[in-house]
Symmetry: D2
Subunit: 300 residues, 4 copies
C-alpha cells in the first residue's frame, strides 16, 4: 500500500472544481425551493442532484441538499455566500454553501482491532472516500506501522478510566491543532466524557457492533449468542451523551445460524462493521446526512 | 376476502384530495427547477417530495417528479395545465400534471399460476396499491372465482399461437372499452404480437422469472438449475418487442443451494416474483418510473 | 381460491409414502451416528438427508435429524419404533421416528389483520406447506369468509382481558377435540395465560413485528419510527411465558429510510412478517427445528 | 500490518490438533453412512460436523464431509488411511482423510487492481482464513510492497498474449517449486491457456465481476450499465476451459439505481467481489466444496 494516489485526488479536483453544495434546514413553508433554485439560476449554476425532505408538510422541518455546477465556483463562492444571506434570514434557515473539493479534515480513533481502520484506509487510498485524512489517534501502538506507511501521522495517547481527562485534553489539543471537522471511532474502545462529546456535536461517528437498539452497551456478540438471534448487525451513529442512543446513520445485518458460536459471530460481525462504518463516513463526507432531532435524514 | 374496503379508498381520497404530481422530461439546462418551483409557488403549492435526475449534466436528459399540496387542487388543475404550457414549450418538455387521487385504470392478464395475481389483489385490497382495478383477463378459467368474489370483472379469452390475432382483437376491444392505462402481465404465458405491444408503449409491465439478462426466454428455473447458480431472481420490466429486453423496473434475488432442485427453485422463485412485480406496479401507479431509452429512472 | 388441490396432496403422498424421519437429542458422545446409521441400514433404509449439531463436542447436547427412504415404511414403522428403543435407552435420547406423510394437525389463531393468515392459507393451498390445517380460531369475524371458502372450519371466540379464562377454556376444548399439534399465532392480538402456554410447550409459534430483542412488547413500529432505525424486522419464535423471549426460529429485515413514517413501516413490515412466519411454520412442519434451551437448532 | 500473528496459527494448531476431515464421493446406495460412522467410532473418533448430499437418492452421486475429533490424530492418520481402503474400494469411493491443521499451499495471482488481494491478505492475517500462503504472482509490480511487507514472496512475471506460453512456463515452475495446491485469481486479468487449466483441475478459483451467467466475458460493468440492471453481482467459480462457465462456488449482489454510472458500479462491485471471493476461498480451504459435474456442492 502506498500513500493515496495523487492521481485520484488530482482527477477528483479536476472533475469537481466547479461543483458546489448547498445544505439547509428550516421550518417548512411554500417557496423555499423556488427561492433557492432562483438564486442558483441567477448565479448561472446548474442543479446536478437535489434531495429534499419535510418531516411534516404541515409545520414540520424542511431539509434540502443540492449539488450544482457553477462556472468559476472558487471565484464566486464568497459572493454567493453573501448573496444568499437574505434568503437564509427570510426563511430562518440553517444553511451552508460549500465547494465539493474542500475536503473535510478527519481524525480516526482506533484501539487494537484494526479491521474498521483498515477498511477506511483502503477506501480512502483507492479514492472511494474523499477526505483530508489528517491523523490517527490510538490508545495502543498496534496500528502505527500501517498508518505511518501511508504517510498519515499516528499519535499514541494512552487512555484508561483513571486518566481519561488527561488523555482527552491531549486529544483535544491535537484535534484543534489539525483543525479536525470529523472524528471517526473505528472500534475505539474507550468511553468519551460528556465534555468531549458536547464539544463535537454531530461530528463523532461511531460503529456499534449490534443492530441497535438491540444489545445496547458492552459485549453485544456474547449477548446475541445467548439470545439465539438468527441475524447479527452493526450500527453506525453520531455519538451523543446517551450510550448508543445517538442518531442512527446506517445499519446492516448478516444471517447467522445455531452453528455460529461467539467467535464466529465476531468474525461475521467484523465484515458488517467495516462496510456499515465506511458507508456512514462516505455519506457524512459528502454532506448527505442532516440531523433531525435524534434521527438522521440521509440523502444517499 | 371482501371487495376493497371502502374505508381505504375514502381515507386515501380524503388525505390526498389536494395532492398533485408534476412529471417532466427535457434536455438538461440551467433554470428548469427554478421555473417549475416558481410556477408551483405562484399557484400556492407546497412541494412535498421532489426527485430529479440528469442522465448527463452536460447535454443529457433531465427528469423531474414533484409531489405538491395545493389548496382546491381539483378546481385549479385545468388552469394550472394551461398556465404551465409556456414553460413546457420554452424547455421543450414532455410533461403532465395530475391529481394523485385520479387512479389509473388497470387490467391484469393471468394464465394458470395465480401467485402474482393474488399478491396484486391482496395489495390492492389492503390499500397498499391504489389503482382502479378494472378487469382481469385470462386464457384459463382457474382464477375466475377469486377475482369475481372481489367484485372485479373477469374475462376468459382463450389464447394460443394459432388464434393469437383473434384473441388480441378481443382483448384490445376490452381494454378500449374500459379505458385501460396499465396492463400487468401477472405470469401471463402467451406471447403478445408486435402490434399489441406497439399499441401500449411503456404501459405493459411483465414479470420474468429470472435475474435478467441471465436466462432470457423459456424455462429459466430449469436452466438456472442446470447452471448451478447460487442465487435465483426475478425481473419486472416494461414489455417491448424484443423478448425480455424491455426497460428493467425492478429485480430481486434469493439465495439457493445445491439442495434446491427445480421444484424448489420454482417455489422460492414464486415468492420473489410476487414481491418484485408488486413493487414495480406500485411505482408505476405512483408515477415514480420515467423511461430513459431502454432504461428506467425510478424515483422510489 | 379453491380448497387445496387434491392433486398436491396426492402427489405428496405418492412421492413420500416411504419417506421417514428420525429426530433425536442426547448428551454428545462418540458412537451415536454409528448406532443410528447401523440401525437404519439394518432396516434397509437409505439416508436421504442428514443434519446434526452438537452444542459442544465436549459434553454438550447432540441433535440429529435424518430423512430416509425405506421400502414399505408404513408396514415397518411400528417395528422400527420397537427396535430403536434399546438405542434410545442406551444413549438416553429423546427421540421419535415419523412418517413424512403423517401431517401435523394445525390451528391458526388470528385477530383482524389477515396478512399472515392469508400467506399461510396460500402456501398451504399451493402445496408449499404440507399441514393438516384443521381449524382457524379468531376473536373477530373478519376472516370467516375466506377461511370457510377453503373448506376449513372457522371458530369465532370473543376474547378480551376480562374473559380470557373462559375464552381459553373454549379454545382448549377445540384444540383437544381436533387433536391439534401446532398452534400458529398469525397476528393474534391477545395475550395467552401461563396455563395455556404451559400446556403447549414448543407448540405455539408467534410472529413478532420487530427484530427481537429490539422493541419487545407493544407498538414496535411506532417505537422503531421514534428511534430512527434504518432497518425494520420481524421475528418468529416459540411462545414461552416470558413476553417475546421464547426461542427464536427465524428473523428477517427490510431496509427503510427517513421517508418511511409509521404507516409505511407497517406496510413494509407486513411483508416481512408474512414471509418470516411462513418459513418458521414450514420448518416446524418438516421437523427441522429442535429446541435447545432458549435457542433453536434449525436444520433448514 | 505485520506478518500473520503467530498467535493465530498457534492457537489454531492447538485447538485443532486432533481434528480430522473425511471427504468422499461415490454412487449412492444404502449403508455408506453406517460404514463410515462405524469406521470412525472404531477409531475412537467423535463426529463434530457432518454434511451429506445425494444428487438423486435413486442412483445419483453421494457426497459426504465429516469433521471429527480423534485423540492422537497425527499418530493415527496413516493407519486410518490404510484401514479405510477396503471401505473405499467396496463403495468405489473417491475419498481422502486429512488433518485440519495441514494447511493448503496457496498462490494468489493478481494484476493491478489490489482490492481482492488485500481482502485475502487481511482475512489471512487476522486468522479468518487459514492457508499456507506461499506466494503471490503478478504481471505488474504494483502490489509487491504490501505483499513483501507481510513476509510473503512476490514474483513478478510479465504476461501478455504474445508471451503467454513463456509466462506460464515460469509460473508452473514456481507452482511446482512451492508445491501449490490452490491458485486464486484475485482479479488476474490474463487468460490462461488450456494446458495450464487442465494441469490444475478444480484448483483454480476465479472471481468474475458479474452475476453469471449474465455478462459473461469482458467489461461486465459497462454492459450492466448499458442494460440498466437494478442489481449487480459477482461470481466465484472454479476455472475450466470454457470462459466463465466453470462450476459456480458463490455469488452475491448489491442493489444499484439509475444514479449509478459505470464508475459507481465498479466501486460497488469491488466490495462484492472482495467478499464473494473471500467466502469461496475460505470454503475451499476448509474442504467444504465438492464438485459435481459442472456444479458445486457447498457444505457451508
Amino acid at each position: 500500500m502506498q500513500p493515496i494516489n495523487k492521481t485520484h485526488l488530482k482527477r477528483f479536483q479536476g472533475k469537481y472544481e466547479n461543483r458546489g453544495r448547498i445544505l439547509l434546514k428550516c421550518a417548512d413553508r411554500p417557496g423555499i425551493v423556488a427561492a433557492v433554485s432562483k438564486f442558483l439560476f441567477g448565479h448561472n449554476a446548474n442543479i446536478i442532484e437535489s434531495s429534499q425532505y419535510s418531516s411534516d408538510p404541515e409545520g414540520g422541518t424542511f431539509f434540502l441538499r443540492i449539488e450544482f455546477e457553477c462556472p468559476d465556483l472558487a471565484g464566486k463562492l464568497s459572493s454567493m455566500n453573501t448573496a444568499f444571506k437574505p434568503i437564509g434570514s427570510d426563511f430562518q434557515m440553517e444553511w451552508k454553501i460549500v465547494q465539493v473539493t474542500d475536503l473535510k479534515k478527519t481524525a480516526i480513533f482506533v484501539s487494537k482491532e484494526p479491521h474498521c481502520l483498515l477498511e477506511l484506509l483502503w477506501a480512502w487510498q483507492s479514492g472511494d472516500i474523499m477526505a483530508d485524512l489528517s491523523l490517527v489517534l490510538s490508545n495502543h501502538e498496534d496500528c502505527r506501522e500501517i498508518v505511518e506507511s501511508l504517510g498519515i501521522p499516528f499519535h499514541y495517547i494512552p487512555a484508561a478510566k483513571e486518566i481519561r481527562k488527561e488523555a482527552e485534553a491531549r486529544q483535544l489539543d491535537l484535534l484543534k491543532e489539525y483543525g479536525i471537522e470529523l472524528i471517526i471511532l473505528a472500534r475505539y474502545m474507550q468511553i468519551l466524557t460528556e465534555e468531549f462529546v458536547a464539544a463535537n456535536p454531530n461530528r463523532i461517528i461511531n460503529i456499534h457492533h449490534s443492530f441497535l437498539p438491540a444489545f445496547i452497551g458492552a459485549r453485544p456478540y456474547e449477548r446475541a449468542y445467548q439470545r439465539g438471534v438468527k441475524l447479527i448487525g452493526a450500527t453506525s451513529h453520531y455519538v451523543t451523551n446517551e450510550l448508543d442512543e445517538g442518531p442512527i446513520i446506517e445499519q446492516d445485518i448478516e444471517r447467522v445460524s445455531h452453528h455460529d458460536h461467539v467467535d464466529e459471530l465476531k468474525r461475521i460481525g467484523r465484515s458488517i462493521e467495516r462496510s456499515v462504518l465506511a458507508r456512514a463516513v462516505k455519506w457524512h463526507l459528502e454532506d448527505r446526512i442532516l440531523v433531525d432531532g435524534n434521527k438522521t435524514v440521509v440523502f444517499s
